[in-house]
Amino acid sequence: MSDLRELYQDLIKDHSKKPRNFRVLEGDARRVEGYNPLCGDRFTIYLDMDGGVVKDVAFQGTGCAISTASASMMTQCLKGKTRAEAEQLFQKFHHLLTGETSEAEEMELGKLAVFSGVRKFPVRVKCATLAWHTLRAALEGAEKTISTE
């Protein structure tokens, strides 16, 4: 598979065109905006916590295929996770993107392993992590705009 096909796999294209959990969470949900001023990607992550556990997570905004698919797939794998578990998942995901991942870690990532093609495109790592950085701010309880630049 060429580097490009590995980057733009069908699952990623599918999520970028039909993002899941693409909605606003009303009520007490935390709301944090993530912005990349260089490419204009802008997402709002909504996070509803129940005690220390993620009850619901959703997002809205615009971005490239990589950042949109990453945000979409992130929202699918966080429900029911504690803050520490979510943080661990981010670390594993980040290792995957920078090529420091072990096979065992890659297995644990499940569907998120589809982003392994990003490692051949270092400038796109920030696209794949924009939603995740925003989520971390939301987990910390902040209500602010975070930037990847």
Binding site: L4, C39, D41, G63, C127
Partner: protein, 423 residues
């Protein structure tokens, strides 16, 4: 076949200028010979920065190899040669812009610094609370933010000339914006994200009729069209060396002498003073008053070499080649389904900003890069322009004198691959 020239010319035919042999010219640019991801480099990111001809690389190398020393200071031979190289470059810039005097040419780091200098020095002195500064909706951030900073400091107002769907200024709106409160106009000659060439000469005349000075941001225009600051009658003109096939870190501010003379210094330091005591400092004459500290000597000399190179080719011939290429590219891109050009002004140059339906510019850029094609994607430091057209970003191919029709064909082929990979 006889041409009109043959028939009408009573005298023996004069040597005509050689045809614009782009393949020959490409040989002057060593960087273009390389492959990227195994494909020949197709460099279409010229509005961002242009590549450098061998003559510029040689001038830099020669300076550092044989003449390097500080200017305007020492009595030794190297310093004399460095000073002469630096000041000769200033005269080359003067002729390139057709300025009345070399004292009106200030070396800066880039166009951005030139605008900041004027906003800070001229602006602070002349703009007061309630005054207005007029810019346009197609300005680069470099021609927005310095004026916003000034307005915030002084309690002045920034007024913005709106643009049409095609990317042209509404000139009647411009005239309506000019009022007794207007203290300054700062406009771009050629838009970096739309390619629009603005009728700056007319706009300047309208401002001058009301006694308002005008700065023209020539960062994009200066390497595509012949610039004549006296004919244009602008009060200030700025451009960057690195877009003009010269080195990074060197730029130019032209200012009319009467303005520059009356303006306070921008930065203090060595070279910009005549005498310094702890009680009182007197400033140096123009242009040195605005060049504090050791400047980018090599950069100025490199810029001089770039100007020589461009003038050797002839700005009119360069412009004609680029216009032909732009027309070819515009027609080729128009045939691609789902592609929308942003910026379709009647008077435009070199810039092809576009969006593809359902595809983000950033993804377009990644796929094209794998094909060896370098373009820029994003907001191009013109976020208000993106907002105006309701797009988060665009993909932008921008042309220079060394680009070819074959490279446009490669771009079109690349866009088809983008649609296949991302579709």
């Amino acid at each position: 076949m006889k041409t009109a020239m043959d028939v009408l010319s009573p005298e023996p035919r004069l040597a005509r200028p050689a045809p614009f042999d782009v393949q020959r010219i490409r040989e002057d640019f060593p960087i273009l010979r390389q492959k990227v991801h195994g494909k020949p480099l197709v460099y279409l990111d010229n509005a961002n920065t242009t590549q450098k001809p061998q003559a510029v690389l040689d001038a830099l190398s020669h300076y550092y190899t044989t003449d390097n020393s500080n200017i305007h200071r020492s009595t030794h031979l190297l310093s004399e040669r460095a000073t002469e190289g630096y000041e000769t470059a200033r005269v080359k810039v003067q002729h390139f812009l057709n300025a009345a005097s070399s004292a009106e040419i200030i070396f800066t780091r880039n166009a951005t610094e030139g605008i900041n200098l004027v906003a800070s020095s001229y602006g602070r002195r002349h703009v007061q609370k309630g005054d207005e500064i007029v810019i346009s909706a197609m300005e680069h951030h470099a021609n927005i933010v310095p004026w916003q900073i000034l307005c915030e400091e002084k309690g002045a107002l920034l007024r913005v000339i709106p643009i049409s769907d095609a990317g042209e200024l509404f000139l009647e709106k411009y005239e309506q914006l000019l009022s007794p409160r207007t203290k300054f106009v700062s406009i771009v000659q050629m838009s970096n994200s739309l390619g629009t060439i603005n009728p700056v000469r007319d706009m300047i005349a309208k401002a001058h009729a009301r006694g308002i000075p005008v700065l023209v941001d020539g960062a994009q225009a200066a390497y595509h069209t012949r610039v004549d600051v006296q004919q244009m009658d602008c009060d200030f003109y700025v451009f960057s060396g690195h877009k003009l096939y010269g080195p990074t870190g060197i730029g130019v501010l032209y200012g009319k002498k009467q303005h520059l003379d009356a303006m306070p210094p921008y930065q203090g330091g060595g070279d910009m003073i005549r005498s310094v005591t702890f009680e009182k400092t007197t400033y140096n004459s123009l242009p040195h008053k605005f060049e504090a500290g050791t400047p980018h000597i090599a950069g100025a000399i490199g810029l001089g070499a770039a100007i020589d190179y461009l003038q050797g080719l002839g700005m009119e011939r360069v412009a004609a080649h680029e216009q032909e290429l732009l027309a070819y590219a515009t027609a080729a891109l128009a045939e691609i389904p789902g592609l929308r050009l942003i910026g379709t002004a009647e008077a435009k140059a070199s810039i092809l900003s576009f969006v593809l339906e359902g595809m983000h510019p950033h993804d377009i850029g990644t796929v094209l890069d794998q094909e060896g094609i370098a373009i820029r994607t994003g907001q191009h430091c013109t976020q208000p322009v993106m907002d105006r057209y309701g797009v988060p970003a665009t993909a932008r191919a921008s042309l220079a004198l060394y680009n070819t029709k074959e490279e446009i064909d490669a771009l079109v082929k690349g866009i088809h691959i983008v649609q296949e990979v991302l579709g």
